[in-house]
Structure formats: C-alpha cells, structure tokens
C-alpha cells in the first residue's frame, strides 16, 4: 500500500521539486515543532543530532569509503574542540573570532589525521583498529594531563566560559529573534548540509572511487596506479577535519570542554552510527546518527512511562535505559545486518551472503 502510493507519487512531474521543498520546510520548522511538541530540551538534542551527523559523516569517509577501521575518531573531535576552547576563552586570555577558530580546528584536526595515518599505512582491520584506539586514548590522556608544567588544557577540569559561536558580531548564544538553541540548530544545519554536499560530491569522484577501490582490494588498487599512501592519508585527514569542525562547533555550543567528553565510548558510538545506519551510504549514516542520538534520550522516559502504566517505578530507569538501548542495537544488527538504510549494492551483498549460508 505504502509502496503503491510512493510509486504513484514518484511519477508526478515535479515530484523531486516537491520533495525538496517539503524537506526544506520540515528542516526549517523542525525546532519550532519540536519545541512545541516535546519541549526545549529536545531542540538541544536536535542540535546534538546535527553535531553527530557531522562526526558520523567524517568517520564514514575513513571507515565506510576507504574501509579503514578507526576506533579513535573522537580524538579529532577533541582536537577541534580544544583548539577552539584554548584560542577562544578566558583560559589563556586569547579570543580569536569564530571565523578563524573553526578553520584552525578543522585544519589542525586534519593534520592530526595525517599524524595518525602515517604510521598505520600498512595496517588493516583489527590491527588498525587497535592502533587507532590507542591514538584516541593518547589524545585524551594528554588533554587530561597537560595542565602542568604549563596549564594548556586545564587538565581534568577542562576549559570553561568558552566564547560562543559568533558570526559578524552576532553571538548565537544571545537570543535574538529565536532562543539560542534555535540559532545553533540553524547554524549546525548549514554546516551539516555543507558536509553532506562535500561527501556526496567526493563519493562520486575520482577520489571517492579510489577510496572504494582501496577498500575492495588494495593490491589491485595499486596496480591501477592509485598511490594508496596518499589516498589513504587523504581519507584520514578529510574525515578528521570534519571531526575537527564538529569539535569546534561543539565547544562554542557547550561553552565548556573536558576530557570526559572524548572517551572511547564516544568513538564506539560514532562507529555504531555508521554500522547501524548503513556503512558507506550517506543517507543511512545520517539516519544512524539521528537514531543513536535520539534513542538514548527518548529512553529516559522509561521512568515516567512505568509510573503511568504500573502506577509505580518497577525497574530503575537508569539501568533499564541502557539495557533497552543495547537490546535495540542487537535487534537491528540481527534483523538488518547491512544497516537500517544500506546502499542498494551493499544490501544485495548481504542478501546473497545469507542465501549462500542457507544453501
């Protein structure tokens, strides 16, 4: 039934234009609708969803396109966030403008991407995962301990009172026409759209094909004249720079950073977004990022839900929340092993693999 309506709709002459207009309208009004329906806190969760979409799309270049398993991606997020925090807060008394802070964080994270990529060029799969995991931890431990002898990062206390994002003298944290969370929503939305545009263009280019070629067969890729070293480093630095941009936005949005926000669990969650959504497929990755940001928050309502249904709280909602979340992840991977929204080719591969194993 739904399929019939959809296919009938797709035959309409202007269906693409209509869809884009509808999508644009939804995206523009989303904070108002969300605020009205669910409350201000959910607009904030929306902002975080957008941040995670940026991170997931960045990691997708490394893991999804180039097939390099990276478990330390949050390090680049941290680099972006801390460079923004250090150069734009009373901590060292430096207050660079936002239009400088964001590019600095982006470029610096890209540089760290190359730093991580260079020693790991010959590693693949599990081995690469372990090294990247170590790299992520190194960055976090550095941030934790770089408060002595010279206090650069503020140590475990982190950095406070970070300058909010500010474009052309208008600070996003000062409620103008809209509340601050709305401002950030629109700001993040612009960056997300930019990143989607960039990754989409990259995917269907000479560079994108080279990434996939390396993922599929590195030796054959070399034999086709692909300089795998450069192309891999490019993937690492492109992915990392998206992470760095996300980090800068995060610091300006939160006004506070500390090493706690950049632990291994974050890297794992970002990886989950990609795997759960559909590796290498941009819409899938976006969907995965939204689901994995919204679901844990939505599960906070398990407490009130129990109260309403049973009249009392039976299981501690904090325990139940992560339990249900974990079960949801397992269920998705069992029922849709290629991800919630895989690319058509990848889905086909998985279906064939299942058929083969049934033979």
């Amino acid at each position: 039934m739904v399929k019939k309506i959809l296919s009938a709709y797709c035959k309409l002459p202007y269906c693409k234009v209509i869809s884009s207009l509808l999508l644009g309208l939804v995206l523009l009004t989303l904070p108002f609708i969300t605020d009205y329906a669910l409350g201000r806190i959910w607009v904030r969760i929306l902002d975080f969803s957008l941040l995670y979409i940026m991170l997931a799309l960045g990691l997708n270049i490394v893991v999804g396109f180039a097939g390099l398993l990276d478990l330390g991606f949050v390090a680049f997020f941290a680099v972006g966030a801390y460079s923004y925090a250090i150069l734009g807060s009373p901590h060292l008394g430096i207050h660079l403008p936002t239009w400088l802070l964001l590019p600095i964080g982006t470029v610096l994270a890209g540089f760290f991407g190359i730093l991580l990529g260079t020693p790991t060029l010959k590693l693949r799969g599990d081995y690469l995962a372990i090294v990247t995991l170590g790299f992520g931890e190194i960055i976090r431990i550095f941030l934790n301990n770089l408060n002595a002898p010279y206090n650069l990062t503020g140590g475990p206390q982190g950095i406070n009172l970070i300058d909010p994002l500010n474009f052309g003298g208008i600070s996003l944290s000062q409620a103008g026409w809209f509340p601050a969370v709305y401002n950030y929503y629109y700001c993040f939305l612009v960056f997300v759209l930019l990143i989607i545009f960039t990754t989409h263009r990259l995917q269907y280019s000479r560079i994108g094909r080279a990434w996939v070629a390396i993922r599929e067969d590195e030796i054959a890729a070399q034999a086709m004249g692909i300089n795998t070293r450069n192309i891999k480093l490019l993937a690492f630095s492109m992915g990392a720079s998206f992470g760095g941009l996300g980090g800068g936005l995060f610091a300006g949005f939160q006004g506070f950073v500390s090493p706690e926000s950049f632990n291994l669990m974050e890297s794992v969650m970002i990886l989950c977004m990609i795997v759960l959504g559909g590796m290498g497929h941009i819409p899938g990755v976006i969907f995965g990022a939204i689901v994995l940001t919204v679901l844990p928050e939505a599960l906070r309502y398990l407490g009130p839900l129990q109260n309403n249904v049973f009249g009392k709280i039976l299981v501690d909602p904090a325990d139940l929340r992560m339990l249900v979340f974990g079960m949801a992840l397992i269920l998705v991977m069992l029922l849709r092993p290629a991800g919630l929204w895989p690319s058509p080719i990848r889905k086909q591969e998985f279906d064939e693999a299942i058929e083969d194993s049934n033979d």
Binding site: S205, D217, I219
Partner: protein
C-alpha cells in the same frame, strides 16, 4: 618496431630460504606477444610481481624503454605503462563494471578534492572523459551490455574480460596477463585470442602467463620457460616445444 620495451637483467628474489627467482633475464620487444610458461610453482607469478612492482627484487635490474625502474612501487609502474591482471581475479567487487574501468583511469587523470567538490569545468570535462573512455573499453572487450552490473555478479569469463578492460584503462605500453584463459572453454579461449590480437594491433605489447599450450603456441611470438625459478629456455614456440629441458620439466623424463 624492434626496440626493447622491457628489459630485465639477472633478477633474483628469495623468500626466507626459498629462492623464487634466480638470475632471470629477458627482453620484450615493442609490439610482441610474449609468453611466460612453466610448471606450477616455477616462479612465473613472482616474476610478474617483480615486473609490476609488488615485489622488490633482491638483485637485478628492470628497464622500461631504457629507463631504470628497479624498486619502483606498483602505482609508479602503472603510471610508467605496465598494467596487469591477476591470476585469481581481483576486481573491485561491489563496484559496477563501468566503475571498475573508471578506477583504471586514475593514474591518467588528476582531479583532486577541490575538483570533486566544486566540479569546475576542467574537472567536469575530465570526469566525462573518464566515463566515455570506460564505456569505450567495455565495448572494446565486448561486455558493454554489462556496464551497470556489479562486478561480482558477472560471469567468470566476463570478469576476466573486465579485468583486461580495467588494465587497458591505464593506457599501458605493456599489458601483463596472468593466466587469462584459465578455466575457459574452447570457444571462450578462441575469442580471447582474437581480443589479444586486437590489443596487439592497437599498439600494446602483451606479456602473458598461460597454461593453455595451444593458445600460447598459436599466439605468441616468443616464449620463456621457467622452472624452479630459473629460465631454462627462451625462443620461438617451435624452438621451445622441442627443447629437451622443457620437455623434461613438463614430462619429468630425460630425453
């Protein structure tokens, strides 16, 4: 044309205590079809890997058109004009046939990140040219109708042909084919032979490893026979066919 295209001198390669290649030398002329034969484990594929830069030889030198190429990386060899196919097909399985060939254009094109993202006129023209050339090559090897089929779903023979198209996309001077007719029936082998003649006629020199004796004898200008990593004979098909050491290597009886 009778100039030397590829010249390898005294190549040796060891893996631990095993010597895969010992002091192998050969010369391939422009426009030739040259074959490398020998029993299994004779070192044919190892020699291929040395020529295409996957292995670095322990000693010896490689010259392509008179230029020293010893120790170059695979992508540098591809850029210099040596393309290859693999014994166990190594396609980019989740890409379509067309995309596979488009990857082959990588080393002859230059668009980078900026070109990809902003799609300025030059990058757009280049991308169009890549696609057109890839289509032509699929047509050339005879699998144009499968352009949008995912590589893994192609039939075995078509996968072999796709690998050849992908290698041709790098505009090679020398096309090295590792057992291109393996597992093919008589008809398929015949049409493959036609394809090789066509490729040669278009100015590409061919080097092939092949077990199909009939194909090798009918097609090739010169043959080198390897056994236990050493060259035991080199010459025209007729010369090699009657060479005592070759007969011994294949049949295991001394004459």
């Amino acid at each position: 044309m009778t100039e030397k295209l590829l010249e390898i001198n005294g190549i040796s390669k060891h893996f631990g205590g095993i010597s895969a290649l010992t002091d192998v030398s050969l010369q391939i002329q422009h426009g030739e079809i040259y074959a490398l034969i020998g029993p299994n484990g004779a070192g044919k594929t190892s020699l291929f890997n040395v020529i295409t830069g996957i292995y670095t030889p322990d000693s010896g030198s490689i010259l392509l058109n008179g230029k020293a190429m010893t120790g170059k990386k695979p992508h540098e060899m591809a850029k210099a004009g040596v393309a290859r196919t693999f014994q166990n097909i190594r396609l980019f399985h989740s890409m379509t046939a067309l995309e596979n060939v488009m990857v082959g254009r990588h080393c002859r094109t230059s668009a980078g990140v900026v070109g990809a993202v902003f799609q300025h006129p030059k990058a757009k023209t280049e991308e169009m040219a890549i696609k057109n050339r890839a289509r032509e090559l699929l047509e050339y090897v005879g699998i144009a109708r499968h352009a949008n089929t995912v590589a893994r779903n192609l039939s075995y023979g078509d996968q072999r042909r796709l690998e050849i198209a992908r290698a041709l996309a790098t505009e090679p001077l020398l096309l090295a084919l590792d057992e291109p007719a393996a597992g093919m029936n008589h008809t398929e082998t015949n049409s493959l032979e036609e394809l090789f003649r066509k490729i040669r006629a278009d100015g590409v020199t061919l080097l092939l490893i092949e077990h199909d004796v009939k194909l090798v004898m009918g097609l090739c200008d010169r043959i080198t026979v390897l056994n236990f990593g050493k060259k035991i004979a080199e010459g025209t098909p007729d010369f090699v066919k009657n060479h005592p050491e070759v007969i011994e290597a294949y049949l295991g009886v001394s004459v």
